[in-house]
Amino acid sequence: MGHYSDPPLLVLASLANGPKHGHAMIEDIELLCGTHLGPGTLYGAIARLEQLGWIEPLPPEERRRPYRITAEGLRVLRARLTTLHRFAGAGLERLELS
């Protein structure tokens, strides 16, 4: 099994501690979970998250544009991570019982 890969969730998690531009997101996600997102995958996720209103663009800095997570994005991220946390807990519990 490879690294965890759900690009939109990874982008939301990366933006949870502050706005970032694309390159910073790629590096942060690699540190966070070891997944290297390609630029095409990253911008596919960014475009969809922006469409959903879960992230929003900030004014560009030179040619780089930072993004920040919205309140709705934070709510979605918290809900998804809570589900994952519950899932991981249940899975580990079963491993301990076996």
């Binding site: 531009h21 694309g22 390159h23 790629i26 390609g38 630029p39 095409g40 995958t41 990253l42 911008y43 596919g44 960014i46 475009a47 969809r48 998250l49 922006e50 469409q51 663009p57 560009p60 030179e62 040619r63 780089r64 544009r65």
Partner: protein, 160 residues
């Protein structure tokens, strides 16, 4: 990555996407690692974007473009009716053969209904969209005419 390659890869994306994300995407490509893996990732993402456009951010599709007009029910319904009529004829030929029958069967009636039923839809489309988006509407009408010809071809060929 070289600026020329970054620009070339960004150009693989549809124009609305490039207008919204092109500059920052090229900047990201220039910042990041180059290589075959990155290029393959961008090519694959650009193909996906062309097949299933995101329309995120400020990329709302122009409703008068060819793609926008094609999404109107009066544009795609006649196409669907012609293709259904074609499927009916081909299905009939596959099951009963291409021999001409003295009495018209159910397949012939369905085919006739589908072909005749689309005439008011096509007329509605032409009246509504030709004045608003002439180029796109003409393209859609050409497609509709092509679909009619394709669905008529087996009928004429086998003299059904």
């Amino acid at each position: 990555m070289s600026p020329a390659l970054a620009r070339l890869l960004a150009r693989l994306y549809p124009r609305p996407w490039r207008e919204r994300y092109g500059a920052e995407f090229e900047a990201l490509l220039l910042d990041g690692r180059g290589g075959l893996g990155t290029a393959a990732n961008v090519v694959w993402s650009a193909v996906c974007e062309r097949i299933s456009p995101t329309q995120g951010g400020k990329m709302d599709r122009d409703p008068l473009s060819f793609g926008g007009v094609t999404r109107k029910p009066s544009a795609f319904l006649p196409l669907a009716m012609s293709l259904t009529a074609l499927a009916v004829v081909l299905g009939h030929i596959a099951i009963y053969g291409a021999a001409r029958e003295a009495d018209e069967g159910a397949a012939a009636h369905i085919w006739q209904l589908l072909m005749a039923g689309q005439i008011p839809v096509v007329a509605f489309f032409a009246i509504r969209w030709l004045p608003r988006a002439p180029r796109a509407a003409l393209g859609v009408l050409a497609l509709q005419a092509g679909a009619v010809l394709v669905s008529m071809a087996p009928v004429l060929y086998f003299n059904l």
